[in-house]
């Protein structure tokens, strides 16, 4: 499809949770508190008068009655600030620093003086009836394979409460997620096609992760896609579970828009099968007014200078690739590994490539080939095998065997893997060859490996067999 010809207009909004304490209090920024809620209360929220222009009293009465909103919270993750029974504390400076860091990575201009705003949200997802949000930087951009994508705004805001359930009369929220700092990065409508949307989203995700200050895992980053074509007004698609489905969802949505004759702007949900479904009408323009409980604050050039710009994950990976002569995919995965640098420095007899393989590839092989869950392997397990390999106490071929046992919490007896001396190996091989006269090379090899298991290097054994046959 020629996306230019159909007037394809597409922009992204990426929301990323930060790994720090809450934005306006010192509660830990837990997204899911495992404790049982010990705080329960219910509230009603009122939209301020004058905004609807309602004159009819009965109608005003009905709309204002609204649903009863129930809240539950754990004192381990929520305090009076989340309960809206205390004004906001001092703004989380870590979060500001991270926001500045991200703004700089996105080539944006940081606002001279930041104003905390209240964005009115009366569905109950914020106990206050508004979301605190602030514009941190404007006019940024990123370079993509298909040209520049502009980043008009970067905001820092509070995460909303998690909805548990809803009936016709009531709605229940949990407060653990409320107040977690959230960075919102919005791109301009510069995305050229569905694949480009995925590229841009993944690039933004990589840049956000490069700060090392963002939360990881499902739900910690969310992408919304704004999408329109010549014949259809803007539709917002939310809830992408996986980035790789993004192009397909966009393609399907474009086709849907092409079929729909008189479409109205609205919000849709990305379904797991790649289609989208109607979620709700497009909300009106945001109603915002200043958060009077927190004064505006200046970001000085000095403060900006003090923020260390982190190296991008892609740059780091490239360096690693070159330094240790690694495959690009292995280098990328190694960046996430906290042990690698330390182990390379400590166990110098081993090639960094070998250490990398043990850390990254061996667990995968244990799962795929041996069908054993490798997720239970601890850092010390990896170090145990690498240390013994470094000291030549075990053979490389023993590594997978030992790690798979450790993954299953089984005892490992090093004596079973003891490297046998060359003379002993020669004797053993000679014996086996003699006992299996006439057998094929492979059969003899099988017998050797059966008897000596992981104690020998396969290559060496083969050479000896050939010698004695």
């Amino acid at each position: 499809m020629n996306y230019k010809n159909i007037g394809f207009k597409c922009g992204l909004e990426v929301h990323q949770q930060l790994e720090t304490h809450n934005l306006f209090c010192n509660c830990p920024s837990l997204v899911r508190d495992p404790n049982n809620p010990n705080i329960k209360f219910n509230r009603k929220l009122r939209a301020s008068a004058g905004e609807t222009g309602t004159i009819d009293l009965a109608a005003a009465f009905e709309t204002k009655k609204g649903k009863k909103i129930f809240y539950e919270a754990c004192s381990t993750s929520s305090c009076l600030v989340e309960c809206d029974d205390e004004p906001p504390h001092k703004l989380n400076e870590d979060a500001i620093d991270t926001a500045i860091m991200i703004a700089m990575l996105l080539n944006a201009k940081i606002v001279d003086q930041i104003h905390v705003m209240r964005k009115v949200v009366v569905d109950g997802s914020n106990t206050t009836g508004f979301q605190r949000t602030m514009l941190i930087a404007t006019d940024g951009y990123i370079e993509t394979s298909k040209g520049k994508v502009s980043i008009p705004t970067i905001c820092l805001e509070e995460e909303s409460a998690q909805k548990l359930n809803s009936t016709d009369y009531s709605i229940t929220y949990r407060l653990d997620r409320l107040g977690v700092p959230l960075i919102e990065v919005a791109t301009g409508p510069d995305i050229k096609d569905p694949e480009h949307a995925k590229e841009t989203a993944s690039l933004l995700g990589m840049i956000l992760r490069s700060t090392n200050r963002v939360k990881r895992g499902i739900g910690t980053i969310r992408q919304d896609v704004n999408l329109s074509i010549k014949t259809h007004p803007r539709v917002e698609v939310k809830g992408f579970q996986e980035l790789r489905y993004m192009p397909r969802v966009i393609e399907n949505e474009v086709q849907r828009q092409q079929k729909e004759k008189s479409g109205k702007p609205h919000v849709r949900k990305a379904n797991p099968d790649g289609t989208t479904s109607f979620l709700r009408p497009m909300p009106g323009s945001a109603r915002m007014y200043p958060e009077t409980d927190h004064p505006p604050f200046e970001i000085t050039p000095n403060q900006i200078k003090l923020v260390k710009i982190p190296e991008l994950i892609t740059e780091k990976a490239l360096k690693l690739e070159k330094k240790y002569n690694l495959q690009p995919s292995l280098a990328k995965e190694l960046l996430e590994n906290k042990q690698f640098d330390f182990l390379v420095k400590r166990y110098t007899k081993l090639e960094p490539f070998t250490i990398a393989q043990i850390l990254i590839e061996t667990p995968k092989e244990i799962e795929s080939r041996l069908k054993i869950n490798a997720s239970k392997l601890k850092e010390q397990d990896f170090e145990f095998v690498i240390k013994n390999l470094n000291e030549n106490k075990i053979q490389k071929s023993a590594v997978i065997n030992i790690l798979s046992k450790l993954a299953e919490n089984k005892k490992v007896n090093l004596a079973d893997y003891e490297v046998i001396s060359d003379t002993k190996l020669e004797q053993e091989v000679k014996k086996i060859v003699e006992a299996n006269k006439g057998a094929s090379l492979n059969a003899i090899m099988g017998e050797v490996m059966k008897k000596l298991q992981s104690k020998v290097d396969g290559k060496k054994a083969m050479e000896l067999i050939k010698k004695f046959i």
Binding site: I39, R43, L57, F61, K64, L80, H115, T127, T138, A286
Partner: protein, 425 residues
């Protein structure tokens, strides 16, 4: 910087060294110009960076929508007197300005539930922070209550929460033979936010006035964290016990009068209150020029701290425990304390000096320890009272204004429910 004439709310375009920004001009500070961008966000632009500002269009005030209020014959009439701590306010999302609303129409617009509970009258008396309230304001309020009481079945006073208990105590004393309910209502969360507690407090106060025969001064605030019910707290017994929680208001040495639910259900907790009657309200005002001191006992005191009260008309001591003050010289370190005792003796010869306790709850008993007995001998009054200091302070001023000769006797007599004979809490 080149400047054109523009005012708050105008759409302007600002050119800085970094580029062009368009938005609404907002009230700004000395260093930064505040601009509301089209997205709704405010940002501050350093004035140093501004090259020029262009006016795009002038601000047009949006039309105000008023709710029609028709009186219902079967409903009681409540007059709402505003003193501040805006109970109703409107946000202009174009300018971010918060406007306080006071007229009955505006109140009904904001709290439509009220129109089914009572016919609402209202008057703006003051719009001030409650920490700024002085004796003179108690008298202004009392006179307004007297006026309004002639054609109202009850009065609601909107009040900042910081000193709501003091005003409730003052009005309790000033309004003698009160024949209708006077309920003070505040909000711990300002009314410019959707989660304000103002609405529920106002609705419960109105329900209580509409459905009870109570005729005293009381405070109506949230019972707990939920928007379901409020407590009616006795006027001479209410204290703000939490700086921010909705349910921060407690009855000290006493119990709430009633629990009121938003639907109008009333559960009485203590029914020994004055009922509505045909008594003639009499105002016993507080002299506005009175100087009443208040000193809190603390470690390492100096007699100088007390001496300033020589020119005052009365002094309240917020003592420790059962009613104590550092007046014992037991070693060389406590020599100062003899001076303290002498200063107290000198003060009591001229002015009433009354004792209360800084313990959160409980009664004064100056017989248990020698300190208390020495203070009594020195002329300090207030023994056996269980008045909280705030009420004791107001009562001292009121007695000096209206019963100057009987201060000593009346201070420890129960006049408005401020002292209980039995200790139950």
């Amino acid at each position: 910087m080149k400047k054109e004439a523009f005012s708050h709310g105008d759409l302007i375009e600002i050119t800085t060294f970094e580029g062009i920004k368009k938005g609404t001009y907002m009230p700004s500070s000395e260093k930064f110009l505040t601009l509301k961008l089209e997205s709704g966000y405010n940002i501050g632009i350093s004035k140093k960076k501004i090259k020029s500002i262009k006016l795009i269009s002038k601000y047009k005030k949006p039309k105000e929508n008023l709710c029609n209020v028709s009186k219902k014959k079967n409903l009681k009439t409540i007059t709402i007197l505003h003193t501040g701590g805006t109970i109703a306010s409107e946000v202009d999302y174009n300018t971010g300005a918060v406007t306080a609303k006071f007229t009955p129409e505006e109140l009904i617009c904001m709290f439509p539930e009220l129109s089914n509970i009572a016919n609402i009258e209202s008057k703006l008396i003051r719009n001030m922070f409650s920490e700024d309230i002085r004796f003179a304001h108690y008298n202004i309020l009392a006179k307004e209550i007297e006026k309004a009481s002639k054609n109202s079945d009850g009065i609601i006073i909107t009040h900042g929460t910081d000193t709501i208990g003091y005003t409730a105590a003052a009005l309790s004393f000033i309004l003698e033979n009160l024949n209708i309910p006077v309920i003070l209502v505040g909000a711990q969360r300002s009314s410019d936010r959707p989660s304000t507690d103002a609405a529920i407090n106002l609705i419960c106060a109105s329900q209580f006035i509409a459905k009870s025969n109570f005729a005293e001064v009381a405070v109506c605030m949230h019972e707990n964290m939920s928007d379901e019910s409020c407590l009616i707290l006795p006027g001479t017994r209410t204290r703000k016990c939490h700086s921010s929680r909705r349910d921060g208001f407690k009855a000290i040495n006493s119990s709430p009068i009633a629990q009121v639910k938003t639907d109008g259900t009333i559960n009485y907790i203590n029914s020994s209150f004055s009922k509505t009657s045909n008594l003639n309200l009499k105002l016993k005002l507080i002299k506005e020029n009175l100087k009443i001191g208040w000193i809190k006992s603390h470690p390492n005191m100096y007699s100088k701290e007390l001496e300033v009260y020589k020119s005052f008309d009365g002094l309240l001591i917020e003592g420790t425990g059962l009613g104590h003050f550092p007046i014992n010289s037991t070693d060389k370190e406590t020599k100062e304390h003899s001076k303290m005792l002498n200063t107290i003796k000198a003060l009591t010869k001229k002015i009433p000096v009354a004792m209360s306790t800084q313990a959160i709850s409980g009664r004064i008993n100056m017989n248990v320890y020698s300190t208390g007995r020495l203070l009594q001998e020195a002329g300090v009054i207030g023994n056996y009272s269980d008045m909280q200091p705030e009420t004791a302070y107001i009562k001292l001023a009121w007695l000096l204004s209206n019963h100057k000769k009987e201060v000593k006797k009346l201070f420890t007599e129960n006049l408005r429910g401020e002292i209980s004979k039995r200790s139950l809490e």
